[in-house]
Symmetry: C2
Subunit: 745 residues, 2 copies
Amino acid sequence: MELYQDADAPVADRVRDLLARMTLTEKVGQVNQRMYGWDAYERTAQGHRLTDAFREEVARFEGMGALYGLQRADPWSGVTFGDGITAADGARVADAVQRHVIENTRLGIPVLMVEEVPHGHQALDGTVLPVNLAVGATWDPDLYREAAAAAAAELRARGGHIALVSALDLVRDPRWGRAEECFGEDPYLAARLTEALVEGMQGTGEAFGADRVAVVLKHFAGQGSSVGGRNSAATEIGARELHEIHLPAALAGVRAGAAGVMAAYNEFDGLPCAASHDLLSGLLRERWGFEGLVMADGCALDRLVRLAGDRPSAAALALSAGTDLSLWDGVFPELGTAVERGLVPTGVLDTAVARVLTLKFRLGLFERPYVAEGPERAAHTRELSERIARASITLLHNDAAVLPLAPEAKRIAVIGPNADSIPQQIGDYTAPQRPDSGVSVLAGLREAGADVTYARGCDLVGDDRSGIAEAVALAAASDVAVLVLGGSSAREHDTRFDDNGAAIIATGNPTEMTCGEGVDLADVRLGAGQRALAEAVAATGTPCVAVLIQGRPHAVSELAEQAGALVSAWYPGPWGGRAVADVLLGACEPSGRLPVSVPRSSGQLPVFYNSKDHGFRGYVDEPGTPLYPFGHGLSYTTTEFGSPHVSDGVCEVEVTNTGDRPVRETVQLYVRRVGGATSWPRVRELRGFRRVDLAPGERATVAFPLDDTVLASVTRSLDLAVEPGTYEIETGRSSDSTQSVTLTI
Amino acid sequence: MELYQDADAPVADRVRDLLARMTLTEKVGQVNQRMYGWDAYERTAQGHRLTDAFREEVARFEGMGALYGLQRADPWSGVTFGDGITAADGARVADAVQRHVIENTRLGIPVLMVEEVPHGHQALDGTVLPVNLAVGATWDPDLYREAAAAAAAELRARGGHIALVSALDLVRDPRWGRAEECFGEDPYLAARLTEALVEGMQGTGEAFGADRVAVVLKHFAGQGSSVGGRNSAATEIGARELHEIHLPAALAGVRAGAAGVMAAYNEFDGLPCAASHDLLSGLLRERWGFEGLVMADGCALDRLVRLAGDRPSAAALALSAGTDLSLWDGVFPELGTAVERGLVPTGVLDTAVARVLTLKFRLGLFERPYVAEGPERAAHTRELSERIARASITLLHNDAAVLPLAPEAKRIAVIGPNADSIPQQIGDYTAPQRPDSGVSVLAGLREAGADVTYARGCDLVGDDRSGIAEAVALAAASDVAVLVLGGSSAREHDTRFDDNGAAIIATGNPTEMTCGEGVDLADVRLGAGQRALAEAVAATGTPCVAVLIQGRPHAVSELAEQAGALVSAWYPGPWGGRAVADVLLGACEPSGRLPVSVPRSSGQLPVFYNSKDHGFRGYVDEPGTPLYPFGHGLSYTTTEFGSPHVSDGVCEVEVTNTGDRPVRETVQLYVRRVGGATSWPRVRELRGFRRVDLAPGERATVAFPLDDTVLASVTRSLDLAVEPGTYEIETGRSSDSTQSVTLTI
């Protein structure tokens, strides 16, 4: 037995031993991830067959570093239930792929199987979780950790090893179609959820358990601040904005042990992230001590040819910067040429190869390359998906106490283009769903036994008003109208795609997509037809509840006036309709809190609670404040918050349920630097939160230790440290409803 | 005679000698500019009298570094023709101030008199020039140099020494109310105009002529990129964006010899500019070799107390960073305490004092402290004001060839809230005008002998439609309707102001201001009333010309459809109405070119031609392209551009007037880096322009030497250098209409 085959040897020794045996071509093979996984197989009458293209790719490099998306299914890949890999086939096909690689290469190095798991595995029968923005609205890392573990187990049971998961991007501009992939606008909230993601999927410890996978966190860094909320546009922000806002989630993920990060498309300081030595080496490796993998984004390295001149030079540029593994590009396959031409030393390539090999060892692929038989996982994930949906539903206003719907509100008119569509409630990066799966809002209300009528009312986009009359008639004849509006990231059969899978949306396309990768929106109001529908339905005088199924916070000032109650259900996943119904009917208390500020219009963007504190007053034609602030969310009861008290380095605050229903309150801790720091402070910064369950009349004291994670800020040298000065420690129910105590350090 | 009094001694020697004689208090006095100038005098029946407050301020520091705005008049200062200083009084009052300072202080150091000259001297009888955005539309540095010289002479003849002039800010987001103070969106255009400004006002050479003044360029740096176009908000941009976009105008001004720059309010990398050693010392002094003065913006240093803890520490922070002279703040008066406490070495204070004294010597104030008799200047400035107005008028479209108005279009209905208001056509930072001065568009058309009727039609803001019917009747009964719409920066008597003079605009104020400092707009469309008016007038079927009087590019997609011709006249100054009339009637050819991209909506902001080249495709609901591109502007004739040719380091292009009227065409040169640079390139970058006058049928060859100013870009180390690579050299009539030739370096 060779040293690298010795399961008891330290991983580092095994890697060194194996590396020493490898040819340049084999090394280059290990840092490449060229194929679309769905090109690796064909489904025939006899089952799945590996393609010649796959065999040739393995042969070309005497091995394969990673195979992307073997089980991916969606309109872009073109994979459907007719020709794809279902849950029943996944393990078998994955094993066939692995067996081919191991048995047909000189060294038999197993291949990493990489899958998109943005919110559940994007594969046929992969269990869909609510999108990250919904997860953000739960403010519940524990629940998300559990769901992430379930998704990981489901993935591993089908042969996947690496989950690509969006976590690091922030919604700094909700025009961006990928807002749904973010945990919200806030670095602290995103950091806690990113930690939970990594812990849930990977577990803790050097080696991964048999039901765990490695996580590659997307995207590093700053992609949420692209100019104009435009996908793939530049990021103009400076180092401080990057450090204060965009890096905390990545740092939390790295500290939690994330196996990898994906270099973002956007540039920073004139260099695409995959080519930025400052970011990938100076910051990530040297400053943070990250020892994992940096994966390129899809075809991102091809873009570097423009700067570098040719492919080998582009390959050398990215590798030298700190990119370890390609994705679909034609650049990293030229690394052999780059080394031979002396554009990059072999040692740098060896380091990247070592990172890939290390992960394979840590995953146990040399010892257990094939899928272990395990229990059926999907039911557990499904339950967690629905729990997240429930926890994410955010009650924005309920002035008329329309909610929960009174038992005497028997006739319910369910109206709107998002009332009865599973594809429209699951978000982007999702596979085709089986016809009978999922529960729409309409179905959820029906299931609950409500007396429901339904009219679509209008299309999601455009201004066709032909369906409004029917909806109005229905509303007029009912006790309450439930308007289900919002956006959609459902890709259609005729959607065109870019090389990297982003939708290509020409302005004015007759598409019903308003969100998702490549689908940015200039005007974040609802479509004109939806607005007309809401106005007409509200005008009937029938009490009206508006439910928003959405992947971004839409600007809904008028709707907020028209509807007695307003609920954001985000993209709640396939079973989200049941969650919505339960909240509307009072079977479940609403407990979501806004992970983003809800804007009044595109004209006031960007709007977030943690802007720099420069006393900005607002526009002459519109306030500078959001329609609903970050952290906001109502319950069906009332709560009272005491003033915070600080003693012995702990901040305590009392919360009382003063109403007659139970509540899950989210106590939020903000820090406001009021004097003495070395850089200009923000208005306030979230630095802690606790969920607390209170029965009617119950009181609880919530304690926050005021440690460095609460008080530290980014110093002039861009380190994190607690600077002497004066701080307001604020606690409350949302970012615009806090009480404070002064702390001098 | 002491050395410092010897006019023949080198300035540096005089400064050193004088400094050595000064007490700490006297030094502190020289770097302070505490008073509002209008508090220094009272007008009585017997004339202007110096106030006790002024005398006390001089006594307090045994001298006075600078006096701000002695002659300023506007609603903020509260100065009017009833109590202010007119042209007839200016020299006498200024001399009285100077005499008091010289004769009542130990060393008799003259005071610098500092005035706002954003577009003409902001004083009673000060001749108003069109705003900078209009100057930008002329693309004519020669004309502007002449106007700047005229304004300087006018100022000096009234006793002013330093002109504060906005020049460095760029319109990167037209929501910003100070867009009117910018030369446009483009660094190169702004750089050429900033150069012209400095050359025109200061002349060249070490000493200033008797009709010249020193220029302090506002604002350094990056203020045009404040978040959300919000005045005083943070600037999040990084060093590269700063260097590529926001610094070229400043660098050009410094190289042209600008006497000073004003540190901007905004922060950069967490520090307000006035506290940024990196900006004010590292970059400005050390890298660029700037030897002039850095002045703080109004009350800006007071804000530093939040960081520094107390006033002396804030003073030390700003002085150490490189700020030399205060403005109204309570911080720099504490510099003595700061030095005594050891917070900053005396040597640092001496350097700042030396900079102030040097400027006083260069201005000849020790030899000629009082105002020289000179010719009356205003008529010359007025002529130049009107020439700039003419040159700035930008014809955006003329599809129906409605313009120039045919002689048979006899009955002209002039309609709109900007048709007959001088205050609304002069912009912000202007003094009250004499009742009989100026020519509105309505008056201009009448003066030209047109048969004109007039209806205001609607208010500038709001949605009152009561005046529309009258306007529609007028239009229906006319041969052509001239709609004069847009915005206004006219401050009103009841406008409230911030400490620093910015208007305080509460959202929903019943104000007619839509622009100006402190007046930012979320929705850059015209007001609802104006839009309704345009729609109604256009619906009459009477041919319609729309003229926009505006301080920012408004989003006018619908108006562009409704009107046969669309003209932007910017804020054309008091006599701009005559210029507009002449262009409409064909007495003058339109020759303005857009200095900014005209957006389609606030939702697509920011939109500029020189964005980073990342292949952005547009929003799903709106294109990413502007309504009209940077550099665009039509003539009343047609022109043809040949392909560019490069030989011997010169790019040549032929332009032909193919129509039947004369033209002043603006040939634009753009550079597009297509390969090989060290940072990601922009779509294209303006690097040259030439105006060329062509008679009908005439052809000319325009030549651009391809020197470093054309080809250089910002390197990784943030220097300017020509990097090897492939370039497209593009020439054409606008940023979206070019032909190119490839150049490899």
